[in-house]
Amino acid sequence: MSIEQSQEFGRIIESLLAQEFICQYTDEIAYEYLSSETYRDNVDRFLRKIGRCLRQTEDRNTYYCAYLNIDSSTVRKHLSQQFKMTINELEPLCRWLSLIMSATQRDAPISPGDALRQGEILSGLENAPALVDDLALIVRSGPFASKKDKVSDQLNHVLNALDDQGYLQRSSPSSSIYIATGKWSYLFEVLEFIHTHEEIGRVSQNEEQNGEVW
């Protein structure tokens, strides 16, 4: 392994252990590195030595680190903390996805690689008071809680929070354009799992039917 490769290897291991999601939009070099089967195996082998392993989202666009053995109580404790954090994020993130679809008049939710323009979202919000209420609901509590009153400040706050949490990445440090990362793929996997196991669709359909009856 050359010095450059060894440095890259170290950097990727550190990123993965720091709970980061690696995709072509967050770290193109690391993503290319992991796209090579040999290098990916090297990273996975190293992680396995310290009780962890490399995982990919189902769409194969994003890499992250998981525990190799989930039976120990310490690991369970960690996973429980992670799970609570993920679950707390779900509602505001779903509302945010819905809000963006309406504000930017997209027919599809945010996908990795999509560009979000702060100006475009803001003008979409200004034209729809209902969406302003939705944004206020997102910042009222939870991980995006803020006491800001102005719509532009609230929007800025949420975008910065999503940037901090790795869901978005600014196209350049001072830019108002944010690129969606591969972490959204992971979020959709979580949503899909819960949806399947708790039969969310059926619940909604039943409620709709009940609504129609009443």
Partner: protein, 404 residues
Amino acid sequence: MSFNAAGIHVLKAVGKHAELIMGAFESNQNVLSETVSNEKAVNELIRLRIAVRDDLDSEVRLNSTIKNLLEHSLKTDRLRMVNADIGQAVEGIFLLVEQYFSAKKANYENDRLKYLHELQDNVSELCDSLLDQTRGIWRQADSDFSVVALLSGKIALNKNAINKVESILNVIDLIDLSKMYQIGERDRELRRLLHVRLPKTIELCRRDLSDAINRLNKMLFKLNTLVARRRLVQQFTDLWNANPSYQPVDYVDKIDLPQVFNRVKKIPLLGAADIQNTSQELQLSEMLEGLRKKPPVKEDQFVDRVSANIEEQPPVIIKLSEFKVAIREVFFNCLSNNEAINGLESYKMSPDGIDVDIWIYALIAEFNALNESSRKLFSLEFNGASDTIFTGNFKAENITLCPN
């Protein structure tokens, strides 16, 4: 009006009414905007079959041929239906080939040439049609169906494109290339058309369409995924709107933990002292117990400061060495006696223990070290001869210090 002049007249008319035609083309419905001022122009376009009025009451629209010409030249992404009637074109080619051979057999040269030209046109038309349809499919795939924003629309267009590709591929498969090869074998002109041009085009289209269908299928999968994700978001949002206290089941609490929730906890990669942590306090106390109580020897170094006051300093007399004095004496003698001094002869003035080489080099060094005004008083000559073989080398055996 001759055929040629008539053709030119049509093309000129197209150029003359270009703005009107483009206006209709860009309106997306191909309808010409009729006003009192352009009535004459519209009538001329209808007369030349560039525009058509389907009924007396209907609007005037562009002829599809003109529309196709513009779409072809402008490479637009408009959605066109495929003219998949390739089978008919192939049948036409076989018929013309048959007639061509009949005329050839009967020695009707004019007829033979006419059929050949007709055949060439038909083959060209078929090749162009196949290539155009393939390019049209690729243009749609390349644009990701961006002409529409709705996912359902994109999916419908994607499926339509896949169907088109499949139907074109099916029709291409029906073209009996072995039969064409067989009938083309008997004639050099036909060989060029049926052995080279048409099979080459078909192969190119088949390859491009196979790639296109692969890409369209991938795109369709992506679009379906987006639809599923949109539905997920919608259903979850609806759920929270209906039941704000909804929380998913604690899956981590279950024995079989779903892998989707298996993510490592962040490991802090930077080390720092945790002053609140008392776990190693005992070990630290034990270590401290064994340490000596006698204070260590003071190892600081002190230096006597030198006064920086120049007035307080006594004048410093730099004492020259005996050797230096002897060298200088040679220079003084040279000046005072005003006579040249031989380096080797002056060696007798050197103090004891100095080699002759050192003495000579010291004289040279002293001469070189003189300041410019002092050096003007002397000249130094090197006594010796050039090497007999390596003539660039001058070998000095002595020096002479001369007063100027």
